[in-house]
C-alpha cells in the first residue's frame, strides 16, 4: 500500500477506490458481527462463497463480511446491494435461492423479509423496518456497508476525511474548541464532557501524554463498544488520532477485553492498515504529527473498566482503582497525564470534526448531545443494538424500536446502566433518555446497557443477581465495597430464600448509604443502585418476600410451589415423565399429584403441561391445596 502523504492524496485514494468499484455490481453483505456469528453467519458466508463459485458468478458478485448493523434478534442478516434488500434470519439453505432469485433474477424473496408481527406488512429495505426506522444511526449505520478488515471500505465512505481536516486545516486548539462546543459527553457512563477532560490533559504538566480507548466493556448484556470495535474499528482510530492531536499526545492505548477476540483481531488489523497508509506513525498525512497506538488486552476484570484501574492494568499491575483526587487526566498511566474515553466517545469525534459542532448540537437534548447506542436485551421482541438521539423516551426505545414485550406480557421495569444502574418502573417509561434524566431516577445512562424485564421477573431476584455479579467483580480493595457487597448478597439471599426478617430493608438501605459514601471507586459507589431503586420502586415486593414469604412474580424458588389443579388435569402423564426427580405420581386416568417433599421447584411440569390444559399451577405465599382424595383421583373421561 502506498503511503498517503496529504489530504489531497487521501481524496485521490478515495476517488481511486470508488472508481475501481462498480456501483451496480451486486454485492452480498453478510453481518459477521458476534450476534450473527452466533446464529451461524460463518456457515452462511461459506455457502455463499461456494454457491457463487458454483454458479459461475465469482467475478460478477462481491461477498462482504461486515460489521454488526444491530438487529441481532433476527440474525444472520444479509443485505443485497445495490438494491439494499434486507434479508433476515438467513440460513445456509436459503443461499442458493438468494443467488438464483435475487442476484440473478432480481426478485425479492418474501419469506426472508421483515414481516411486522402486528400488521403483517413486509419491509424490503432496511430503512423500512420499524426497528431501524426509529433509530438515528450515526455510528453503527455504516457497519453493514463496511468490511471491518478493509480500510479501503472505510475510506470509500469518507473515512479519515475528518482526520485530514483536523490535522491539516485546524490547530489543536480549534479541534479542542469544536469538541468542547459540541458538548460531547463521555459515553462510558460518567457523562463527563470530553472537551473539558481533553483540556485538562493538554494543560497538565508532564510528558508524554497518553490517550486511551476504554474498550473494557463488562456490563452484563452490553455489547455496544464491541460492535463498534469489531464492526468499524477505523472510526475509533480516527477519533483517537484527532483527540491525540488536540491533546498533544503521541502515544495511545486501546484497552480491550481479551474476551472480545474478534475486536482484538480487527483493531489490530485496522491499526496495521492505517499505519501502512501513513494514517498512524510518523508525520501523519504530511502534517508533521506523529502518533502510535498500542493494543492492550484486558485480563477479564469488570473493575478494569474504571479508569484508574484500567490505567493500573496498562502499567502491568493488577487492575485496581486508586483514588482520583488527582485526576487521571493529570496523573494517569505511569503518573503521566492520560486522557481516557470510551470507544463510543472516540467514534463520535470524526463526526463532530467532519460535520461541525453545530450539526452535532442539533441532535439530542439540552444537556446531552448526539446519539447513544444501547444494547437492548431482555424481555423485548427486538433485541439488538439501538442507536437513538439523546432524549427519546424509554417507551419509544422499548416499544417503537424494541417492538414491545413478547408473549403479551406486561412490562415491569428496565435496568439501565448495567450493574451500576437502576431499575426504572413503568411509570417513568416516558422519561427521556439522557445523562441527567436517568440520574434523576436514581439510575444512570451507564455505557448503554438496557435490560427489559416483564411481569415474570422478580426484582428482588434481579437485584440479587447484580449484587452477586459485583461480589465477584469488585476488586475487593476497599472495605465498604468488598464487605458491603458480601453482606448485601447475604441479606438478599435470605430474602429470596424466604429467610428475610423485619428490618432487612432498612438494613439494606443503611448499608447502601455507607457503600455509596465510602467506597473508593464508582463500582462500589454505584453498586447499591440496583437494590436501592428496586426498594424505592418495588418496596411492596420486598415486603411480600419478607412478611408474607411470597414472591409476587413467582420466581424465587424457595417461595413458590407447584401443584396440579385436579379440575384441569387430564392425566396425560407428560409432566410425570418429564419430572427430573419423579415427584409426580399418577397414571393413565389418574389425576396427577405433585409430592411437595420431593419437588425441587424446577418448573419442568409447569413448562411441559400442554397449554390447552394449563393444569400445573405456580403459587406463592399461600398453602398448597390438599391433594385430591384417592377416591376422587380416577378421571372420568368425557363422552368418548
Amino acid at each position: 500500500m502506498a503511503r498517503v502523504n496529504s489530504p489531497k492524496e487521501l481524496e485521490g485514494l478515495r476517488q481511486q477506490i470508488l472508481s475501481e468499484r462498480d456501483p451496480n455490481k451486486p454485492c452480498i453483505a453478510i453481518c459477521a458481527g458476534i450476534g450473527c456469528l452466533a446464529c451461524g453467519a460463518a456457515k452462511v458466508v461459506t455457502v455463499f462463497k461456494q454457491e457463487v463459485e458454483k454458479q459461475g458468478l465469482k467475478l460478477d458478485v462481491d461477498i462482504k463480511e461486515t460489521g454488526c448493523p444491530g438487529f441481532c434478534e433476527r440474525g444472520p442478516i444479509v443485505v443485497i446491494y445495490p438494491e439494499e434488500i434486507c434479508y433476515l434470519q438467513v440460513q445456509p439453505e436459503d443461499v442458493p435461492e438468494i443467488i438464483s432469485q435475487t442476484i440473478k433474477e432480481k426478485k425479492v424473496i418474501d419469506r426472508l423479509l421483515y414481516i411486522d408481527p402486528t400488521t403483517g406488512e413486509k419491509s424490503t429495505y432496511e430503512s423500512e423496518i420499524p426497528f431501524y426506522k426509529n433509530q438515528h444511526r450515526l455510528l453503527i449505520g455504516q457497519n453493514i456497508k463496511i468490511d471491518p478488515r478493509s480500510i479501503d471500505d472505510y475510506i470509500a465512505l469518507g473515512g479519515y476525511k475528518a482526520l485530514a481536516k483536523a490535522l491539516c486545516a485546524m490547530t489543536p486548539e480549534q479541534v479542542m474548541e469544536e469538541v468542547d462546543k459540541a458538548n460531547l459527553r463521555g459515553r462510558g457512563g460518567g457523562g463527563f464532557p470530553a472537551g473539558a477532560k481533553w483540556k485538562t490533559t493538554r494543560d497538565a504538566p508532564g510528558e508524554p501524554k497518553y490517550v486511551i480507548v476504554n474498550a473494557d466493556e463488562g456490563d452484563p448484556g452490553a455489547f455496544m463498544d464491541r460492535s463498534l470495535l469489531e464492526g468499524n474499528p477505523h472510526s475509533v482510530i480516527e477519533g483517537l488520532v484527532i483527540g491525540a492531536y488536540a491533546i498533544g499526545s503521541h502515544e495511545g492505548f486501546v484497552y480491550v477485553r481479551q474476551e472480545y477476540p474478534l475486536a482484538v483481531e480487527n483493531i489490530n488489523i485496522a491499526i496495521k492498515q492505517a499505519g501502512e497508509y501513513g494514517l498512524l506513525g510518523k508525520n501523519i498525512l504530511g502534517s508533521g504529527f506523529d502518533f502510535v497506538i498500542d493494543v492492550h488486552r484486558g485480563a477479564g476484570a469488570f473493575v478494569s473498566g474504571e479508569s484508574s484501574a484500567l490505567m493500573t492494568a496498562i502499567e502491568g499491575r493488577v487492575g485496581e482503582p486508586r483514588p482520583k483526587y488527582i485526576r487521571t487526566a493529570v496523573s494517569g498511566v505511569w503518573d503521566k497525564p492520560s486522557n481516557l474515553n470510551n470507544v463510543e466517545t472516540w467514534a463520535n469525534v470524526p463526526l463532530i470534526i467532519d460535520r461541525g459542532a453545530d450539526w452535532f448540537r442539533s441532535i439530542g437534548t439540552e444537556g446531552s448531545k448526539g446519539t447513544k447506542i444501547f444494547s437492548l436485551v431482555g424481555k423485548v421482541n427486538n433485541t439488538g443494538l439501538v442507536e437513538v438521539p439523546m432524549g427519546v423516551t424509554l417507551r419509544s426505545i422499548i416499544y417503537d424500536i424494541g417492538g414491545g414485550i413478547p408473549g403479551g406480557k406486561k412490562f415491569k421495569a428496565v435496568q439501565t446502566g448495567g450493574p451500576s444502574g437502576g431499575m426504572i418502573p413503568e411509570q417513568y417509561l416516558d422519561a427521556s433518555v439522557d445523562f441527567d434524566e436517568l440520574t434523576k431516577l436514581d439510575s444512570m445512562m451507564g455505557s448503554g446497557g438496557m435490560i427489559v424485564m416483564d411481569e415474570d421477573t422478580c426484582v428482588v431476584d434481579v437485584a440479587r443477581y447484580f449484587i452477586d455479579f459485583l461480589c465477584d467483580e469488585s476488586c475487593g480493595k476497599c472495605v465498604p465495597c468488598r464487605e458491603g457487597l458480601k453482606h448485601m448478597r447475604e441479606i438478599l439471599n435470605d430474602i429470596v430464600g424466604g429467610r428475610g426478617k423485619q428490618g432487612d430493608i432498612e438494613l439494606l438501605e443503611g448499608l447502601s448509604r455507607v457503600m455509596k459514601k465510602a467506597s473508593l471507586c464508582a463500582l462500589g459507589q454505584t453498586a447499591p443502585n440496583p437494590v436501592l431503586t428496586t426498594i424505592n420502586y418495588f418496596r411492596d415486593e420486598y415486603e411480600a418476600h419478607i412478611e408474607e414469604k411470597r414472591c409476587p412474580a413467582l420466581v424465587c424458588k424457595e417461595l413458590i410451589s407447584y401443584h396440579i389443579d385436579p379440575d384441569k388435569c387430564k392425566a396425560c402423564m407428560i409432566c410425570g415423565r418429564e419430572c427430573p426427580v419423579s415427584a409426580i405420581s399418577g397414571g393413565k386416568g389418574l389425576i396427577h399429584i405433585i409430592d411437595q417433599e420431593k419437588c425441587t421447584r424446577c418448573g419442568t411440569c409447569f413448562d411441559v403441561c400442554p397449554t390447552r390444559f394449563r393444569a400445573v399451577k405456580k403459587i406463592s405465599g399461600e398453602p398448597v391445596p390438599a391433594p385430591v382424595p384417592e377416591a376422587e383421583r380416577v378421571l372420568v373421561r368425557g363422552n368418548k
Binding site: 483526587y325 469488585s474 480493595k477 465498604p480 464487605e483 453482606h487 455507607v514 459514601k517 465510602a518
Partner: protein
C-alpha cells in the same frame, strides 16, 4: 515547598504543600483513625476509616484523608455526622468480618458499635485486608513475596503458588517485616516461608540479645547515636526500604554517610588497644558453644548487668533461675596448652560473680581454682568475705563439663568432673550453670598494631615496654607509650595507674617542646653500599629505607638510635656510626693500648 493553610475541625492548621490531610491533622494533634495507613508506605485508601468531610470550592464531600492532598483554604471536618455514620458503618463491616480481633473490637467500643447487624464471619479470621504486609514487602523490602490474590469477596493475602506447598521461595528473606507491620497479628512467618529468620545478635550483649540493623552500639556510646549495619540493612543490601528515614522526625538519617579517615598530626601516641577474651570453645571438654548454660565470664557479666539483656536477672536458657552455679578459674590461663601466664583478674572477678550471684539468687556457688591470687589492696579481705558468704572453693581444675548424667540427681544438669586436690579424690558435681573465667589474651590485631607503631612484643604476645621496672610505659620508639592490657593482663587500678604514667610521660615531652635526637647515628657510605638491604632488615627502629633510584640504603636520622646493629651487620662495611667510625674506634683503641 510552600505552605498552605487549611482548617481542620475549626482549627487553623498549616501544612506543607504536597502533604496529605491526615498528615496535617496529625501534625495538629487531631486524631483520625486509620487501619491501612502507615507512614512508611504509600497511601492505599482501602480501609476508608480515615474519611473526613471536606468543603472545597463550595462543595462538601467525603474523602479519605490519608491520600487527599492539602489545599489552601480547605475546610475539613473529622467528626461530622456523615463521617461518623460512615466510620461506624465500616467498623460494623469489619467487626462482622473479624469478630475476635482486638484492634477492631476496640474501635467498635470507641464508636459505640456493639453487635454488627450482619452475620458474623469466621471467628478465627484475623486479616482485615489492609494490605500493609504486601506493601511493606513490595515497597520497602523489594521482595514482593506476598500480595493479594483473587478479587471481590474472595480477596486474600497469599504467597505465589500457595497451595502447592512450596514455601521455600528464594525471594523471601524471612525478614519478618510483614508480620511486624500487620496490625492484627494475622500474619506469621510460618505462613509465608519455610525459612527460619536469623536474628542479628547484639555484639555488645555477647549474642545474648538481638538488635536491629540500625542500633545504638551500647548505652552511653560515644557518640551516642545509632549506626546502620550495612551488612544487614535491607537498604544497603537491596537498595529498598529506607523505612527508618520516615520515622526520624528531624530527618537525621543519611544513607550517603561513609566512614571517614581523619589524619591528626601528633607528637606522642599512647597505645591502649586492650585485650581480647580467650575463646573457650577451643577447650572442647568444657562444652562452651555446645552445651546450654555454659557461659563465658563476659557473657555472664552482661547477664548480671541491670542494663543487660535480662535486666540483671541470672537465668538459664529456659528462663528459670539456676539453683547452682560453677565458676571455673584459669580457662586459657596458666595452661601450657593455651597461655602460660596468669591473667591476674580472673580470681577477683570470679569472686565478684560469686558475690553477685549470692546477691541476686539463692544459688549455690562453686569456685574451681588452682590458686587464689588475691594480690591487690583489699582483695584478700574480699576473698575472706566470700568464704563467709558461703561460696564453696574447690581446689582443682575441672577436667570436663558434661551433660551426660550417671545418676538420677545429675539428670538435666551440667556435671563438672574434677579432682579435688585437697582431698585427692575424683568427683562429679552437678550444677545448673557453668561460668568459664576466661583469661585475657592479646587482641586479634596485635601484630598489625605492633608493626604500625613499631612496638616489640614479649613472648606472651603483649606489647613490650622499654624496661619492666625503670620505664614501664615507654616503648623503644620515642613518643610512643603503652598503657593497660595491651602491655599485659592487669586489673583496673593497675591500668589506671599505668595510663596516668603514660599520660605524664607524654606531657613531659609536650612541655619540653623539643625532642632530643641521638647525636651518634648511623651513616651509610653510598659509594660502598651494594644495596643488599640487610641493614634495613636488621634495624630495630625501622630507621633505614631503600632508595630505589640509586639502589642504596638511607638512614632516617630522626629515627636512628645509634645502636650500631647495622654497622656490625653491613657485609660491605658501608655503614659507620658518626663519632664512632671504625677509624676513630681503632684510633681510640690504639691510643688506649699505647
Amino acid at each position: 515547598m510552600s505552605e498552605v493553610t487549611l482548617e481542620i475541625d475549626g482549627k487553623e492548621v498549616k501544612a506543607e504543600e504536597g502533604t496529605t490531610v491526615l498528615e496535617a491533622a496529625k501534625g495538629a494533634g487531631i486524631d483520625i483513625p486509620t487501619l491501612c495507613y502507615h507512614p512508611a508506605l504509600s497511601p492505599f485508601g482501602s480501609c476508608r476509616l480515615c474519611m473526613v468531610e471536606i468543603t472545597s470550592k463550595g462543595r462538601k464531600r467525603l474523602v479519605t484523608s490519608c491520600n487527599y492532598p492539602v489545599e489552601e483554604g480547605l475546610v475539613v471536618a473529622t467528626k461530622s455526622p456523615d463521617v461518623i455514620e460512615v466510620r461506624k458503618g465500616i467498623i460494623e463491616l469489619l467487626l462482622a468480618r473479624c469478630p475476635n480481633v482486638e484492634l477492631i473490637q476496640n474501635l467498635a467500643k470507641e464508636y459505640g458499635v456493639e453487635e454488627p447487624p450482619y452475620k458474623p464471619g469466621d471467628e478465627d479470621e484475623k486479616c482485615i485486608l489492609c494490605g500493609l504486609c504486601a506493601r511493606m514487602c513490595e515497597e520497602r523490602m523489594g521482595a514482593s513475596v506476598i500480595n493479594f490474590v483473587d478479587r471481590g469477596v474472595d480477596r486474600r493475602v497469599e504467597t505465589p503458588f500457595q497451595g502447592t506447598g512450596d514455601k521455600d521461595l528464594d525471594v523471601c528473606r524471612a525478614c519478618g517485616a510483614c508480620a511486624f507491620v500487620c496490625p492484627t497479628g494475622a500474619i506469621t512467618l510460618e505462613d509465608i516461608t519455610g525459612k527460619t529468620p536469623e536474628p542479628i545478635l547484639s555484639e555488645f550483649d555477647e549474642g545474648l540479645a538481638t538488635r536491629a540493623p540500625v542500633y545504638v552500639p551500647f548505652a552511653q556510646a560515644v557518640p551516642n547515636v545509632p549506626v546502620i549495619d550495612k551488612e544487614q540493612c535491607v537498604h544497603f543490601t537491596t537498595g529498598k526500604c529506607k523505612t527508618c528515614e520516615e520515622f526520624c522526625a528531624p530527618r537525621a538519617i543519611d544513607f550517603e554517610q561513609e566512614d571517614e579517615v581523619i589524619e591528626v598530626e601528633v607528637g606522642n601516641i599512647i597505645v591502649a588497644t586492650g585485650f581480647d577474651l580467650f575463646d573457650p570453645s577451643v577447650i572442647q571438654q568444657y562444652g562452651y558453644g555446645r552445651l546450654d548454660n555454659v557461659l563465658t565470664s563476659l557473657e555472664f557479666e552482661r547477664m548480671v548487668n541491670s542494663a543487660g539483656p535480662t535486666e540483671g536477672h541470672i537465668v538459664l536458657k529456659d528462663g528459670s533461675e539456676p539453683g547452682s552455679i560453677g565458676l571455673i578459674h584459669c580457662v586459657g590461663s596458666r595452661d601450657e596448652q593455651y597461655h602460660e601466664y596468669c591473667s591476674r583478674v580472673c580470681c577477683m572477678y570470679s569472686m565478684k560473680f560469686a558475690h553477685l550471684i549470692k546477691e541476686h539468687t539463692s544459688a549455690d556457688v562453686y569456685e574451681f581454682y588452682i590458686d587464689i591470687r588475691s594480690f591487690g589492696k583489699g582483695y584478700e579481705e574480699f576473698y575472706n568475705r566470700m568464704l563467709e558468704e558461703g561460696t564453696v572453693f574447690i581446689r582443682g581444675k575441672p577436667a570436663e563439663v558434661t551433660n551426660i548424667a550417671e545418676t538420677p540427681e545429675e539428670e538435666g544438669k551440667l556435671i563438672v568432673q574434677f579432682e579435688d586436690t585437697l582431698v585427692g579424690r575424683q568427683r562429679r558435681l552437678p550444677v545448673d550453670m557453668v561460668v568459664l573465667s576466661c583469661g585475657l589474651e592479646p587482641s586479634r590485631d596485635v601484630e598489625e598494631v605492633a608493626r604500625l607503631f613499631n612496638i616489640s612484643r614479649s613472648a606472651d604476645g603483649f606489647f613490650l615496654e622499654k624496661h619492666p621496672k625503670l620505664d614501664p610505659v615507654a616503648t623503644m620508639t620515642d613518643g610512643i607509650f603503652i598503657a593497660g592490657c595491651c602491655q599485659g593482663p592487669k586489673d583496673i587500678p593497675d591500668t589506671v595507674a599505668q595510663a596516668s604514667a603514660a599520660a605524664a610521660e607524654a606531657l613531659s615531652m609536650i612541655s619540653r617542646g623539643t625532642v632530643e635526637i641521638e647525636a651518634a647515628t648511623a651513616v651509610i657510605d653510598e659509594s660502598l653500599c651494594t644495596g643488599c638491604q640487610l641493614c634495613k632488615i636488621l634495624c630495630p627502629y625501622s630507621a633505614i629505607s631503600f632508595d630505589e633510584e640509586k639502589r642504596v640504603c638511607r638512614v632516617n636520622e630522626a629515627l636512628c638510635k645509634g645502636c650500631g646493629v647495622c654497622v656490625g651487620g653491613c657485609p660491605s662495611d658501608a655503614i659507620n656510626l658518626s663519632h664512632y667510625t671504625n677509624e676513630q674506634i681503632l684510633a681510640q683503641m690504639e691510643g688506649a693500648l699505647s
